[in-house]
Symmetry: C2
Subunit: 310 residues, 2 copies
């Protein structure tokens, strides 16, 4: 029998990267896939140990900031949901794309046409939306109808200088009823339709991480990002000069499950020369390499807190 | 007062490119925007002179082929509509993406998951669609819902070797109720979501033009394409070694109207140093240059037929 093993885990001892934790003063946490799993109508469930892990960071004296690309609800509503799940989290501890976009729109006198989730609309209440001179696109889910995408397209193509602001650039995410396309896919669609380049507000944009660091009053080299997305969390934070850990929960585990199913299928067919070292996964991403890998947030916090007391 | 003039038209005499028509034995006609305008529920209206122009080509002894990226109906239904509008056109004179895709699917033993217009589905009746091993995407219009795009995405992401076949790569087209996003936009969306490159069946793919030429038994250098789309019609045909004319009807006129409105707006604001030579339009496309420009199909046929008798 072939024995399945988590990819890359074997050869990489915790201590190996823990040494690089010196000087950490602030922690930036991704939310979905790190604190909790699921979403959709059900609301999701906390990932085991993550509620306590947040408490431990707060008790340790480390500064803490939550950094999410969530755009299916206002920041207030999203935080209330996390509080109901048991997390010690406040609205003003969260960096989210919609409030960041609102600041940019105000600064540049932009009047948005919104293609976003119904529950996100109140975030833009204070802005003038008549005679729009830009399009803001978020994770609109079922609002990504042909009709709505056409409307956004017509606004853009009618502008002398088309401005498309995208709240994130994710490809897909997992909900309880399966994989769902994310905002980045529709951003690419409009980019192609109008021959424009979107401005991304949210991870992995450098400005987004810088804004989270500014809130914590911590320098990039003093901060560590913990996320499940190799490109948006890990790559984005590293581009900004931060260190970054990838957790093996959330999106990571979706990918692993897909690969595991494919692997088992190939083994069954005996068409594949099985080698765990060639296992394709995020830990062998061609462009991004995390500073460390942990099974979950609880394990990451264990190591970070231990390192603090050395 | 500023005088508006059709862009680029002034300096380019017909005779200039008519000289290059020697040796033409076959004509390939785009349909939408060349034969008729509109579409949608209403069905559209013939462009003045185009019904007679088709008759004149047929009477001239030139070989004729219609080449369309239309995928909102079966070829049979589409041709029946054109016949009702008054055109002398037969099903077997039309090269269309869906029948071409069917041939490819059969040759490669592919079982498609279809994301197409309801009216196109019968075109794939003869194919096994159980346990799909590829996705075929057409101009699905209102079928481009979030739900349907997610379904196509899940099929692709679950395949060991994801194959995405796109019936065209158009950005948008005009219907009576305004501009509509075309299949290419959703092709780009799925390409990004799954990190794949679609195989395009339809214009501007070289194979598609080659198949039209083979039906006419004419060499590329003996054929001329007449279309309204600078990239898909003109660029595609030229890539294949054919000559190509752009008509100033259909898509061309949509673009001109948009530019004209913008131009008038800028003139009104007095923010623009008006210069017709700088007018941005398809005739100054950065990569593609047509062999000639005509106001409409009737004018093109006039010149081609005259040239035949020299």
């Amino acid at each position: 029998m072939h024995q399945l093993q988590a990819p890359g885990r074997a050869g990489r001892a915790m201590a190996e990267w823990a040494k690089q934790l010196a000087g950490i003063k602030g922690v930036v946490l991704d939310i979905s896939g790190v604190l909790y799993d699921g979403g959709g109508e059900g609301g999701g469930v906390p990932i085991p140990g993550s509620i306590e892990a947040v408490e431990r960071i707060k008790a340790s004296g480390l500064k803490l900031r939550f950094c999410t690309n969530e755009t299916q609800a206002t920041r207030g509503k999203f935080v209330a949901k996390l509080q109901r799940l048991g997390f010690n989290i406040l609205v003003n501890e969260v960096t989210a794309p919609a409030p960041a976009a609102c600041r940019i729109l105000k600064e540049r006198n932009l009047r948005p046409h919104l293609l976003v989730h119904d529950d996100l609309v109140p975030e833009f209440d204070q802005l003038d939306k008549t005679n729009p001179n830009c399009v803001v696109i978020g994770d609109a889910a079922d609002n990504f109808s042909y009709k709505n995408l056409n409307e956004a397209f017509r606004v853009l193509i009618g502008l002398e200088n088309p401005i498309l602001i995208s709240l994130g650039r994710g490809r897909y995410y997992k909900e309880t009823d399966g994989l769902k396309l994310d905002v980045g896919v529709y951003m690419k669609a409009l980019e192609y339709a109008c021959d424009v380049q979107a401005e991304v507000v949210g991870k992995p944009a450098k400005m987004f991480f810088q804004s989270a660091l500014a809130e914590m009053e911590v320098e990039p080299q003093q901060a560590i990002m913990i996320g499940d997305d190799i490109v948006n969390d890990v790559g984005g934070a590293q581009q900004c000069g931060m260190r970054a850990l990838q957790v093996r929960t959330g999106k990571y585990s979706i990918f692993s499950t897909l690969m595991e199913n494919l692997f088992l299928y190939l083994v069954e067919l005996e068409t594949w020369n099985v080698s765990c070292t060639n296992w394709p996964c995020d830990e062998q991403h061609p462009e991004v390499k995390a500073d460390g890998y942990v099974n979950n947030l609880a394990e990451a916090v264990d190591i970070i807190v231990k390192q603090l007391h050395k």
